[in-house]
């Protein structure tokens, strides 16, 4: 019988928004079981929100995540508006969609870079993050901040998009399109990336439905659900875009879904910009009080559906505020995706649901019997990279060429 080894992954990493701790049980090279532990960074935000006013709680939920820092605020203000039947001016709806899509672009870029890094394609990593920068600069132009834009409030948005900024944002998008074509080519045409990601970490359609997984994780397995289309909010019902869905459910398909979604995001932002040029009016309906009641707000974050539930008793604070981030549903699917796969593939499989999973940096392998460290974090990433290198040599391919 081969010896069973436990590999702990996690629990902390400064880049990761939701620290998790994974325990991989491996026999030889094969993963046989996975334990997931959460809560290393539990901040009691739901309880804390009950002591904040409705306006303050938007700032609070913005701090849940640094990467998709407008997803929670959008879901939160929609829940408050649903509870209090608050009207939102049309111009504010378009601004919400615009901010949401810009955020999706930079979040998917971030994931693409990390995926490249884990697989040993550091050029993809560098270029993806280089092209993420102009999007963050755009946010700085609009809101003054690269992250935590503080744009949302119940009843509207806090800042308008200035007419003179629209051509600047458009220019950023035009530059990005060329880069996206490049990434699409680099990922979809490269035989080594195919070999590393196709048929790896497969999630079936039934598994997605059982686990109620959301976002690109679900859409890569043929479950074409997107809250933007299914539960129209912000300006999405007036905008023309496609829900990207593929059938295979492997790591490759998850990457393809995200890359193609970025094209749709650009399409949406361009429509919003065109509309904002002509549509004038208020950006905030300034609700004075939220009447008693309860409301649910849903928003399609880069990683999937965010849902907030808010209950008001007529005062200025929520009596209950429930928050559910997409990773809460998606991370649970890891135990289906990773079993039976090799250790060298575990890194990319666990990263494929995009749980802001960067704690691979802190991987360390411990021999289950002696408790002695046998693999360091760097070694596991090295294993993943070596596999790519080996495949590259076998296939005689050089990997994605990025000529800019």
């Amino acid at each position: 019988m081969s010896k069973k080894t436990i590999i702990p992954i996690g629990p902390y990493h400064p880049l990761q928004e939701e620290p998790e701790f994974f325990r991989l049980h491996v026999e030889g090279e094969k993963v046989v079981a996975l334990d997931i532990e959460l809560g290393y960074n539990h901040r009691g935000i739901e309880k804390l929100s009950e002591s904040k006013t409705f306006e303050q709680s938007v700032f609070l939920v913005e701090r849940i995540c640094g990467i998709c820092s407008s997803s929670h605020p959008i879901a939160c203000v929609q829940a408050v508006e649903d509870a209090g039947d608050v009207e939102v001016p049309e111009r504010a709806l378009y601004i919400r969609s615009l901010i949401g899509e810009l955020e999706r672009l930079h979040s998917h870029m971030l994931w693409l870079g990390l995926a490249g890094h884990f697989l040993g394609f550091n050029t993809v990593w560098m270029w993806a993050w280089r092209y993420r920068e102009p999007i963050l600069n755009t946010f700085e132009l609009i809101s003054g901040n690269r992250n935590h834009y503080a744009m949302m409030k119940p009843g509207g948005v806090r800042r308008d998009i200035k007419a003179e900024d629209i051509p600047v944002i458009q220019k950023t998008l035009d530059d990005l399109k060329g880069a996206l074509d490049l990434f699409r080519g680099a990922v979809t045409d490269d035989p080594v990336i195919h070999a590393r990601t196709k048929g790896v970490g497969v999630l079936t359609q039934q598994q997605i439905i059982d686990y109620c997984a959301v976002g690109p994780t679900a859409r890569a397995s043929g479950v074409a659900k997107d809250v933007r289309k299914d539960h129209p909010h912000a300006a999405y019902e007036f905008l023309d875009f496609n829900v990207i869905s593929t059938q295979n459910g492997d790591v490759f398909d998850k990457a393809v879904v995200r890359i193609l979604e970025m094209y749709e995001s650009i399409k949406i932002i361009e429509q919003c910009l065109a509309k904002l040029k002509t549509l004038q009016g208020s950006i905030d309906s300034n609700p004075k009080e939220i009447k008693p009641g309860e409301g649910i707000g849903q928003y399609e974050a880069p990683r999937g559906e965010v849902i907030h539930y808010v209950r008001s008793d007529g005062g200025n604070r929520p009596v209950r505020h429930k928050v559910r981030a997409p990773s809460f549903m998606n991370i649970a699917t890891d135990r289906e995706a990773v079993i039976g796969q090799s250790v060298a593939d575990a890194t990319i499989i666990l990263a494929a649901v995009d749980p802001c999973y960067c704690c691979t940096e802190r991987m360390a392998a411990v021999d289950a019997d002696t408790g002695k460290h046998i693999l360091s974090s760097a070694e596991l990433i090295r294993m993943s990279r070596e596999k790519t290198e080996k495949l590259r040599k076998e296939l005689g391919a050089e990997g994605p060429r990025l000529k800019l």
Partner: protein
Amino acid sequence: MTREQIVARIKDVLGARIVQWTDKSARRIYVEIKPEDILEASRLVFRELEARFSIATGVDTPSGIEIMYHWSFDNCGMVVTIRTVLDRNNPVIESIALLCKGAEWIEREMWEMLGITFKNHPDMRHLLLADDWPAGKYPYKRDFIRDGKEWITEKT
């Protein structure tokens, strides 16, 4: 399925066991049922009507511990919330995790945060709180309040 078909089917199956039906808006329905009917109601919306389990919310209210199961009907843009109220001194309900794997974690969370006992849960242990968290202390109950600016502490 349209909203009307879904509403008709739920009313048909649960019938007189519906405690309260609230049509909040075109896209939000709240249905209150008794705790003992939760498995049947969940099977109906999840397996037969093919809703997606979005999340469940537990609330500590003066009348009891309330659980709301939010089910998303993605093909007609509607959220049906199934609500049930448990006895505050002995909150017990059947787990729906064996029916819907997506509910496994949130039931663990509601157990540790609000002290709700889920019968027949496949893997009941701490999810967010530390393993050595003191037994019988449930931080999302109203017994815990925000004390000053920084801390959430137990009422004394």
